[in-house]
Amino acid sequence: MDTVGLLNYAIFMGVLIGIYALLTLGLNVQWGYAGLFNAGVAGFFAVGAYLSALLTAPPAPDRIMGWQLPTAVGWLGAMVAAAAIAWPIGKVTLRFRSDYLAIATIGIAEVIRLVLRTEDTLSGGVRGITQVPRPFGDLPYEWSQLIYLALTWALVLLVFWGLERQLTAPWGRMMRAIRENETAAAAMGKHVAARRLEAFVLGSAIMGLAGAVYVHFMRAITPEAIDPMMVTFLVWIMLILGGSGNNRGALLGTLLIWVIWSASELLTDRLPAEVATQAKYVRVFVIGLLLQLVLRWRPEGILPEPAGR
């Protein structure tokens, strides 16, 4: 175990944490700001990932598109597509209150996943899309990883900065007012439905961006990547643990959960060989346990939402 190897591993973790940070920030807009229980994160992630892949990958005979456009176009396209899908969904489902919205969004995410699995001409079906380019991907391994880390975190910080500004702006205060007391906000003349839709679409667009950043990092996408366990639920745990309503909390939660998830395998590997294999299940358990503990002892998360801004 040498330093260079550890650094490479740290860079890799940094990129994945960045991708998950985008997802948590997106979810924070929906849940933290607006109180919308979106349990279909994976769906918007998938839309972004697949569209960016289709825009930038080389064409394949049995699939549409493959336009080989620059990655930046793919990223923008992913945000637009995720927003475009979120808009009609939000239009219909945002009239539901929290738990009904959760059920509706789970259903929609499953529909998206099954469509991507079965529609070969759209998505390559179960075999997915490969040969997705990565910006500066031809450089040696370390450099390519490092540059992608920089790109990812530039995006994360840009989104973070933008959301922080948005939160302290009147829009953010209005969102919290609506979340806390919908009737009062409506009585003050706020257009509750339209504001909620804005938050839903904005959050979904950020999730779409996360999908796009993911697909260019992995250079391939298959339907297994949009497993709700790895996308939706892990992201929820990150946000709840870190502190919903607080963007810094969202980033902290992402960092903690991913490090626990990934690095705990290094610890369990130190165990004797007979139990090391079974111990790999421990990390799944630890994440669940952590969530239980946080919900019991600190339901507002590690960094709670600051009162009054």
């Binding site: 450099w143 992995m218 298959t222 339907p223 590997d269 799944v284």
Partner: protein
């Protein structure tokens, strides 16, 4: 966006150092990536046990000429995110020169594209069957000991036609494995004059497939071809088909060749059940592997057990042949796996090591086939048709 200067400096150093140190300094490290958690968790124990069996044998017989092989298991979760994470740890933290796995095609595609190919690490998968892996721009670093679905599907189609089966219904599990096989089968079967009355995919983990079966039976075919796993939905579909007498004859591919399936359904009910599975061209190789596996408490007929053993054993041979030079591993792998050369059977490590030391060529004849890698690192695979007899699967005919 600023990075600590030390990080950048260290990376520059890494680049410089990395270009100079291609040898894996007296250490032969192999990472075993298996789907320990996730959808194929049921198959993982036998696969990993077979890999470990191969490497333990090598170590017991003295290890490589530059030391014993050190191996470690990683969990690829059969999922791209988990697999890339595992691969990054395997390559960078553990320092693997080669890996067996990832086990699933989707996981493998993501992990090799983003980690192992750029890092120059040899990957031999024993269970990823997607034809997409053939198309990878892999710098000759990705191999597999399991044939692409394409070969087996076509071979099975030809065999059935030759046995006089002209009309079949096809049921496949909707993932890369089932679909790949089913499409290859369909293309060959129809091109050679057969008729497919129904062609349906199904999702796994359903409690009942009776409605699927009712649809499948509609075309009037007597034979149902099932591309699925015999320890999962394939078992359910076969049981329900037999219970309700939807078809007269059932045919499966290698995923259906599961010993537990015989125990669960009973031999008497499986008289008209045929499966195709890869076999070594010399049946001896599989026999030898079976004996060793049984002794070690591993079921040799478990899905992908034989291919997993071969993948690990081939990596060990390649390491020996490359004399510890990581950059020469792919070439060495081709050299030890393909003709010409003295045939080496599973477990014959001492013989192989001696021949290599003498500078002679060797040709590994594995438990799951001869492993004559083609340009893309794929194996054509040789197959046989099996029927159920005496509580196990018995070869009926070779498939062409």
């Amino acid at each position: 966006m600023t990075f600590p200067r030390t990080l950048i400096a260290a990376l520059v150093a890494a680049g410089v150092a990395g270009s100079g140190s291609a040898a894996f300094a007296q250490e032969a490290k192999v990472a075993l990536l298996g789907g320990i958690t996730g959808p194929i968790a049921g198959m993982a124990p036998a696969m990993l046990a077979s890999m470990k069996l191969a490497l333990d044998q090598v170590n017991q017989a003295g290890g490589t000429s530059f030391g014993k092989i050190i191996y470690q298991e990683f969990d690829d979760g059969c999922n791209p995110q988990v697999a890339t994470d595992a691969m990054t740890k395997a390559v960078n933290v553990f320092g693997a020169a080669a890996t067996v796995g990832p086990a699933c095609s989707g996981a493998l595609l993501a992990a090799v594209n983003s980690v192992s190919i750029p890092a120059g690490v040899l990957v031999v998968s024993s269970s990823a069957t997607s034809p997409k892996i053939t198309e990878l721009a892999d710098k000759d670093l990705v191999f597999r000991t399991v044939p692409s679905d394409d070969f087996q599907g076509r071979a099975l189609a030809r065999t059935l036609l030759a046995r006089g089966v002209k009309q079949v219904a096809v049921a496949y599990v909707n993932n890369d494995y089932g679909k790949g096989l089913a499409e290859a089968f369909k293309a060959e079967f129809e091109a050679s004059g057969g008729m497919i009355t129904q062609f349906r995919g199904h999702e796994d983990k359903k409690a009942s497939y009776r409605s699927d079966l009712a649809e499948l039976a509609k075309g009037g075919a007597d034979t149902l071809v099932i591309f699925d796993y015999g320890n999962a939905s394939g078992l359910t579909i076969l049981r329900q088909a037999i219970e309700n007498g939807f078809f007269k004859q059932y045919v499966g591919a290698d995923g259906m060749r599961d010993e537990n399936l015989i125990k669960t359904l009973g031999e008497a009910n499986l008289k008209d059940f045929l499966v195709s599975a890869p076999v070594g061209e010399e049946g001896v190789a599989f026999q030898q592997f079976s004996e060793m596996a049984r002794k070690a408490g591993v079921d040799p007929n478990a899905t992908f057990a034989a291919t997993s053993y071969d993948a690990a054993f081939l990596i060990a041979l390649a390491m020996e042949a490359a004399k510890g030079d990581k950059s020469k591993l792919p070439q060495a792998l081709r050299a030890v796996a393909t003709a010409p050369g003295e045939p080496i059977l599973p477990g014959e490590w001492e013989k192989a090591k001696k021949l290599l030391a003498e500078g002679k060529e060797i040709d590994y004849k594995g438990a799951a086939g001869d492993h004559e890698f083609d340009k893309a690192g794929d194996v054509p695979g040789s197959y046989a048709l099996f029927k159920v007899e005496g509580g196990t699967y018995k070869e009926v005919a070779k498939m062409k």
